[in-house]
Symmetry: C2
Subunit: 246 residues, 2 copies
DNA sequence: AAGGATTTGTTCGTATGTATC
DNA sequence: GGATACATACGAACAAATCCT
């Protein structure tokens, strides 16, 4: 949409600004057909910095798995297109990404029975402080971390839910054991922020990375709230799709 | 969801990371009901840095207009909650934010008649290279920049559209002059990235800020494509809402 | 096969910015 | 405010791998 702009004395190191620009330019016309980047010298001139500074940026992206550098040949893009995650009434993780990855897995990181925080109680339409099950999960597609989520369920209705999820790796499957054969996504609220330290570790991101944050509420066919969850997607690896898949 | 994460050697100065956290922390209980921040010493301990570093962060935010420092009383947050922008079949800018701001305005930044890039032609279902109208706009709510957008229209059908938009400040109104009384949002694709230099200038952001990017396609009642657009929202000021407004 | 051009990788040194105490 | 340690950025030169003629 517009040209490179590098700001000095902004509190953000030049090499990081350049790394961010290159990462985002990977989708645009920064590379030629073979996926080769301009030379370090050309990039340095383009951004108006020293070659070392460009090298630092490239090294960070190599570490991230975005680029691959070969001595004497050049620097190349590791093509990994963004997964498209559909959001709508029928939002389901496994079905949504079904066609785009060979292997999909949901992992249980942690769980606990707790008293419902205010926002959770309101969303689930239960009393504040009522017992809820908190489920911390993460998902991988073809071995790449895609998202992490914290979900809350009414503990009285879904006691033992975590065991069914851990076994099947699927929320949809786990619901069946509680007589929920179908459910709908009533609402989703999307925002974005910098990844925190837990995001970096779980999603294997580098500092300064961005996460898309989706707050979602699932309800059963009668419209009763089932699950309130916050899901964090790596913004470099996922985009969210609302409406028809043109 | 989890604790503050400050990363050293990340290419982002500690004072900027802390400034980003404080800016976001407006909603996350960083301040008490009166909007007062903890003391510098408390913040320094919480983030695990020296008090001078916190001071640098606060000074940057005061400069930005996010914080207000009063001698002898403390430092206060200028509370400006995130606007919630609804996305769905009836997505319209002015109606969506209607209740949340006193003054809403769309401004025309630039326009031109061009040959359709490949992606645009495909979305609008016209031939690649066919003439299209490109419209660069930005929107403010109560004087705060909210979003910028680049929209494409079939030039044969909508020649002169820019004049109607410039006069009314509304896409919906401009459509009426071309016999389009109603339209639908067929699809929206959401991603997030770091703001580029044009984003920083137009949206009045600081380096390292995040923008939510929404690619949208509007169609008329017959399902014919009308408008393909890329809108960039300041992630600090806007969240996107899909489905019911619980 | 030889050699020059190109491109990434490495090692010096120096200056400035950032963060702590 | 001043001293110290470390990260960032620049500059110059050279080494190593690859490509082309």
């Amino acid at each position: 949409m517009s040209e490179a702009g590098i700001e000095r004395r902004s509190g953000v190191a030049l090499w990081r600004q350049i790394a961010d620009q290159i990462r985002q330019g990977v989708g645009a016309g920064l590379s030629d057909e073979s996926g080769r980047l301009p030379t370090e010298l050309a990039l340095a001139e383009r951004f108006g910095v020293n070659r070392h500074t460009v090298r630092t940026a490239i090294q960070a992206l190599v570490q991230e798995g975005v680029l691959r550098a070969e001595q004497g040949r050049g620097t190349f893009i590791e093509r990994q297109p963004r997964l498209s995650y559909p959001i709508g009434p029928r939002t389901r993780f496994s079905e949504g990404l079904g066609g785009q990855a060979r292997e999909l897995r949901g992992n249980l990181l942690d769980h606990a029975y707790e008293e419902a925080p205010e926002a959770v109680a309101e969303a689930l339409e239960i009393a504040p402080g009522a017992p809820v099950l908190r489920l911390d999960t993460m998902a991988e597609a073809d071995g790449r971390p895609i998202s992490r989520a914290r979900s809350y369920f009414d503990a009285q209705r879904f006691r033992g839910f975590e065991r069914h999820f851990a076994r099947t790796g699927s929320i949809t499957m786990a619901y069946r054991h509680f007589g929920v054969s179908d459910y709908l996504r009533r609402s989703t609220t999307i925002s974005a922020r910098h990844a925190d330290s837990a995001d970096l570790e779980i999603l294997k991101l580098s500092p300064g990375a961005i996460v898309l944050v989706a707050l979602g509420l699932n309800v059963d066919q009668a419209g009763r709230p089932l699950q309130f969850s916050e899901t964090r997607f790596s913004a470099d690896r996922v985009e969210l799709q609302v409406g028809n898949t043109t």
